[in-house]
């Protein structure tokens, strides 16, 4: 059965308009969660949802849903979408392409007079980024019962503004309960945020699942002596010990023969003075793999390396695992649906695993889920330099049309020439 293809021009016009909301001088967008710019973007989205004939509902977390009825009104809907909140001075594509391609799918089905058996719902999740209110993925997290509503409401930003108040302030504290409900499946199109697709010149990633990870907070405590008169053999240098661990993380990822990636992203040195031996260093370690056992072994090995480094340098140590998330394989059947969709549109694709977490992870806990990745040029993301070729975005949206209509049991179609 032939499937309609999206209208690239309409889609791009809408995307460009949307990027003007909270746009930055260097070509990005600054629309952190529940900011005025985020409100303006929500307002625009709701307007477009309504223009497309969708029934809009806002839930208690400010998640925005747009529903298109199916022949079978009581059937569990096919849900698809992403998020529109951004990093501070973030990129234009992250999240947005998932929400606007979902809307474009609806417009395309409208244009083609397609009626699906199942209802379709598109969604923009609240607070995916987690840069203003932690943790991230708060909207989908409450929706899937990972977090309590009260917990989410109580989150404060660094200026003391409370999530609940800010949600109210921008007018998006809705009435619909934010809780798990019966869904047939969930799809999310997203930029890869990594370099694999771009490196291999592919348009589509069929996402089989998401890496698990461990976050460690570690510290060493030494002695803050003067850098001049203190002989080397009497030093207890917290930074030298830290350096050993940074090297150990790199060595472990380079030589383990696994898919492990490891990063020391944050280092804070005290007193951080040119002529004082570092007394205290606090640092973080991020370890990821699609194999939970690999993460587990890496955590153990790095904890050993921390102890060895502390022993060598004669410093005290501390290491706390502040988060552990298991690898999250998506539903085989949904992954196969995305793969078939990629084949149907003739896209160059590969199956792959996501290193980063997405709303799809939480949805995967309550319904069959998969994701569609489009390339991030040079793997750049979370900065204003984020870029995806528009043709790839369109290809992704067409894959989404196929995946959604397969799952929603399309019963009628009209061909539209590109």
């Amino acid at each position: 059965m032939d499937v309609a293809t999206v209208n690239s021009e309409r889609f791009q016009d809408r995307f460009e308009l949307f990027c003007q909301i909270g746009e930055t001088e260097r070509g990005g967008v600054n629309r952190p969660s529940l900011s005025d710019a985020n409100r303006d973007a929500r307002n625009q989205l709701v307007e477009w949802f309504e223009e497309a004939g969708l029934t809009v509902s806002i839930d208690e977390m400010g998640n925005i849903f747009g529903r298109r009825d199916g022949k079978n009104a009581d059937a569990a809907p096919v849900l698809f979408g992403s998020h529109i909140d951004s990093q501070y001075n973030g990129g234009r594509y992250d999240g947005v392409v998932g929400v606007l391609s979902a809307l474009e799918v609806i417009e395309t089905l409208n244009d083609a007079d397609v009626e699906t058996d199942r209802p379709l719902e598109i969604v923009a999740w609240s607070n995916e980024e987690g840069v203003r209110f932690q943790p991230d993925m708060l909207g989908s997290g409450v929706f899937t019962d990972i977090f309590d509503l009260e917990y989410a409401y109580s989150r404060e930003d660094s200026d003391g503004y409370v999530f609940s108040d800010e949600l109210d302030r921008i007018g998006y504290k809705g009435d619909e309960p934010c809780e798990p409900r019966d869904l047939h499946c969930y799809f999310e199109l997203h930029v890869e945020q990594g370099p694999y697709l771009d490196e291999q010149d592919l348009s589509i990633g069929v996402v089989e699942g998401v890496y698990g990870f461990s976050w460690l907070n570690a510290s060493f405590g030494g002695k803050a002596d003067h850098a001049g008169p203190t002989p080397m053999h009497l030093r207890n240098d917290a930074l030298v010990a830290t350096s050993d661990v940074i090297n150990a993380v790199r060595r472990l990822t380079a030589t383990g023969g696994t898919d492990l990636v490891g990063t020391v992203g944050s280092v804070d040195v005290y007193p951080n003075s040119i002529n004082v031996i570092p007394e205290q260093v606090e640092f973080t370690i991020d370890l990821r793999s699609y194999d939970n056992e690999v993460v587990e072994q890496a955590v153990e090995q790095i904890q050993n390396e921390i102890r060895y480094a502390a022993d060598r340098e004669g410093v005290s140590w501390d290491c706390e695992e502040i988060m552990r998330v298991d690898a999250d394989p998506f539903d085989d059947d949904c992954v196969a649906t995305v793969e078939r969709a990629a084949e149907s549109v003739g896209a160059d694709y590969m199956r792959m695993v996501s290193g980063a977490g997405h709303d799809a992870n939480y949805l995967n806990t309550i319904c069959p889920t998969s994701m569609i990745f489009v390339p991030s040029v040079n793997g750049i993301s979370h900065t204003e330099g984020e870029f995806t070729e528009w043709d790839d975005v369109v290809t992704g949206a067409n894959v989404l049309v196929h995946a959604v209509t397969e799952k929603a049991a399309m019963t009628e179609t009209t061909e539209i020439s590109q």
Copy 2:
């Protein structure tokens, strides 16, 4: 010829009183340069100088001199002293023991009715620490023509307060020109700020000179990718490169067979986030030796290590030497005087080199100079935990009596029992 010994009790009473000025809850003092507490300490010092019969003069930099005439009023004086400004929440001994022991030497000679051939002058130098106004050793620096007066006056603290205004505000912008003048020699008693004397259970260090050093500001620039989806082989991690250099500094000092010490004291990581690969790291390197050639070779080698690390990790690099100070050997004759003095008082001593800079370095450029070190327990300095056994301070003051009177050609003495 027998020499008088100091009055330990009087000396200690005065020290304890002085420590109450700007004292901190944890047993240190907070008297940064030109603060109110620094003014109060100066007022107390001037009062004591006058009570001891000294002629007090304040120069344009706020350096405080107290003069005791000699038989030969026109002879170049023997100058000795140190500083009374402190680190923020610094220790009680740093600088203070040098100034108060100088005063105690005067009191002791007064008690013993000793008249010297040469005049004696004691001094408290302004702004030795350099924590509020940079650079450090500003008072002795202008006095020895290392810095212009106008340059010193223009120094601003981090709140925008200007040295000249603050000196005026606390009432210590004196009339005496701050410039080199004819001095017979200069002695300075100071806490070691290192662990050597304490480690070897010695009371006195006869200081032969001061290490030279190089300060490097270095940086690496990589790519701030997401810690999850970015494969190891595509990373350009500025922190991994930095870690290589931290290790190289330690390796170089540990294996060179020289007296080189090396420290990476300050590291600033951007964006410094747990799940973002470090894009930019700025860090400092402090390299010291008593052999200028060793410092030179170390600088070259570390610059090479920086280039190698940048090549390995595919990051850009920058390295700038922001300061180079040659090793500073003190006057042989003055050093011998201090050594004889240590022997005369029966002190356990050793000849040693100072890793840290002192006002004595600058005085050494205009007159014969040496220093007397007393132990820092566990080598701790620049913190409230700084401590020196009082007996060692007294021994140091007695060594100073001997050294000063030898150089000033003492012509009369009265024995005083201890």
